[in-house]
């Protein structure tokens, strides 16, 4: 602020104006961010007044009767995202480890490039493919063996008809895999070779070197990658809208259908008005809050724990 007036006084009008314009553009980001929060808050006043905090743990979904609760959808988002990150996490870190520690340098770069391209495929295409191609394939080759072995458990009970939480979670996992893998790869690659040498010199096998020296060092970055992947899965709309079935229920079996916060907004928005609309917007606000928290959490994790392995007081 003081800098402006200094510049003006010195006659550097050009510099002052330029800095001002740049600052305004920078501030526009803040305006957008807080604008979203503010506007969502205002437009959900109807629903917030009617339902209060109970909105968060109500599972009602009676459009005509005017009762709706968010819990069903928070549940759907949570379960599908967690399954997705569990699947994508192991595979993603496995790929990252392979690329950095095992693959020749050239292969690492080529595959890395391809993985980044794959992250660019739009979610509508994933959704379309998941519904038309993957769901039937899973039904033929994966579901029967699963039912044979685990069919007695509540998790895999019931019959599979294609669109289900199961299929949606798998498609989510495939969608976030490139993100998790490429961030993990960068993080693992950044581990200094001196760490690897130190463990190897003690007589470690490659796996021991990886698990005892590389992964602990890269721990925070890997967790960051996982949390970011989780956030992406939670915010995903089109694939789950097409594949999860849009059934507002607290499902117990993965083969059942369900709904997430984003899918209910996408599918019910058209016919919504007044209270229902306000409730949908409130679900949107909750979704925003949750993904915001996940994102901020991931960054804080890296910030706070980045000091742990490298810090401490030097004598």
């Amino acid at each position: 602020m003081k800098r402006f007036f200094k510049l003006f006084r010195r006659g550097n009008v050009g510099d002052a104006i330029f800095q001002l314009v740049a600052l305004l553009c920078g501030l526009s980001l803040l305006v957008i961010m807080f604008g979203i929060i503010f506007e969502l808050w205002i437009n959900t006043s109807l629903s917030r007044q009617k339902f209060g905090f109970g909105f968060l743990w109500s599972t009602a979904f009676d459009i005509n009767g005017g009762k709706i609760g968010a819990l069903t959808f928070i549940y759907g988002t949570a379960i599908s995202s967690v399954i997705a990150i569990l699947l994508a996490g192991f595979v993603g870190v496995g790929i990252a480890g392979f690329l950095v520690e095992i693959a020749p340098r050239r292969l690492n770069r080529v595959v890395g490039f391809v993985v980044e391209l794959l992250a660019a495929i739009p979610s509508i295409v994933y959704g379309f493919w998941g519904l038309i191609a993957l769901a039937p394939w899973l039904g033929t080759y994966v579901v029967p063996p699963l039912q044979a072995v685990f069919g007695w458990t509540p998790l895999f009970a019931g019959s599979y008809i294609g669109s289900s939480v199961f299929t949606a979670s798998i498609v989510l996992a495939i969608m976030i895999l490139p993100t998790v893998a490429s961030i993990s790869r960068d993080v693992i690659q950044a581990v200094p070779d001196t760490q690897r040498e130190g463990m190897i010199a003690l007589g470690a096998t490659r796996w021991e070197m990886f698990s005892r020296a590389v992964v602990p060092y890269a721990r925070n970055g890997i967790v960051g990658a996982l949390v970011l992947g989780l956030g992406r899965a939670a915010g995903e709309t089109m694939a789950v809208t097409l594949i999860m079935g849009n059934n507002a229920q607290i499902f117990t079996s993965l083969f059942q259908q369900g709904a997430t916060m984003s899918s209910v907004i996408a599918s019910s928005f058209g016919e919504a008005s007044d209270l229902f609309l306000s409730s949908l917007l409130e679900i949107g606000l909750i979704l925003f809050a949750i993904t915001f928290a996940i994102n901020v959490g991931a960054r804080l994790l890296v910030l706070v724990f980045a000091n742990e392995p490298r810090g401490g007081v030097r004598a």
């Binding site: 550097n12 314009v21 740049a22 600052l23 553009c25 920078g26 501030l27 526009s28 980001l29 957008i32 961010m33 604008g35 979203i36 506007e39 969502l40 205002i42 595979v91 993603g92 496995g94 790929i95 480890g97 392979f98 095992i102 595959v111 980044e116 794959l118 660019a120 495929i121 739009p122 979610s123 509508i124 295409v125 994933y126 959704g127 379309f128 493919w129 191609a133 993957l134 495939i174 895999l177 893998a181 096998t205 796996w207 021991e208 990886f210 970011l228 992406r232 939670a234 915010g235 995903e236 709309t237 984003s262 996408a266 928005f269 925003f288 993904t291 915001f292 996940i294 994102n295 960054r299």
Partner: protein, 287 residues
Amino acid sequence: MSSLTSSSGHYRRRKLVDRLMTGLSYASVLVAIVPLAALLIYVIIRGAGAWSPEFFTGLPQLFGGGGGVANGIVGTLILVGMASVMSIPFGVMAGIYLAEYGDNALGGFIRFVADTMTGIPSIVAGVFIYGLLVLNMGGYNALAGAVSLTILMVPVITRSTEGVIRLVPGSIREAALALGVPRWKTTLRVVVPAAVSGIVTGVLLSIARVAGETAPLLFTAFSSNYFNFQPFQGAMPSLPVLIYNAARSPTEAVREVGWGAAFLLVVMILALNLTARLVFRGRVPGG
């Protein structure tokens, strides 16, 4: 002391674990490649099969032959074009701000917000603009759609611009300043041109990202089965939303057109990505 070739049970176990883990990591690569390859192959085969002159010039026919997606192609170009016009100036200037004037608390806060915004679910952007513009402008329209895409583009362009500008060597700036060039001119005429290929990369990548977005458009530009060249009035069709409609259609012919559109969309986005990454590869600022 043991001989170099003797092997205790413990050692054998360690080697076994090493072999097992190596095998698992190979397996994880397979697990990743197979579905992604399957998806691409499927989209290519079904999509290319749907490409025809009618596909590129016709309008969607919900009953009968399926038609084409010409209105969606035009619509996407309009929406993405409008969004770019709005987001590039703001994004690039914000990136310049962060790089040149942003080493303070405010800059740090803006940086933090920008990073967080890249993680906002796109549906939230759509819902936000619905409340802000659609309700106040009397209905779905292209501007609302473009603004919702702009919200998604600006943070990405900002951060990538900041990154590239920071890479420009200080020596270039110092040389210009030493010659008496005012700071703002230095930035605009010297630093930005040096970083321009990186900036273009960031812009292309953000365009590629929003060209495929469906959710925000559902609440802002909505959809139409006709051409619309009006930016402020009337729903604007787009490729992603047409695909969404086709995916839910019971008619096989309509779904076929949907696959053609999906293939087209993937081709466009991959082309943008490849262009972006190869453009930057060639030129490094200052180098």
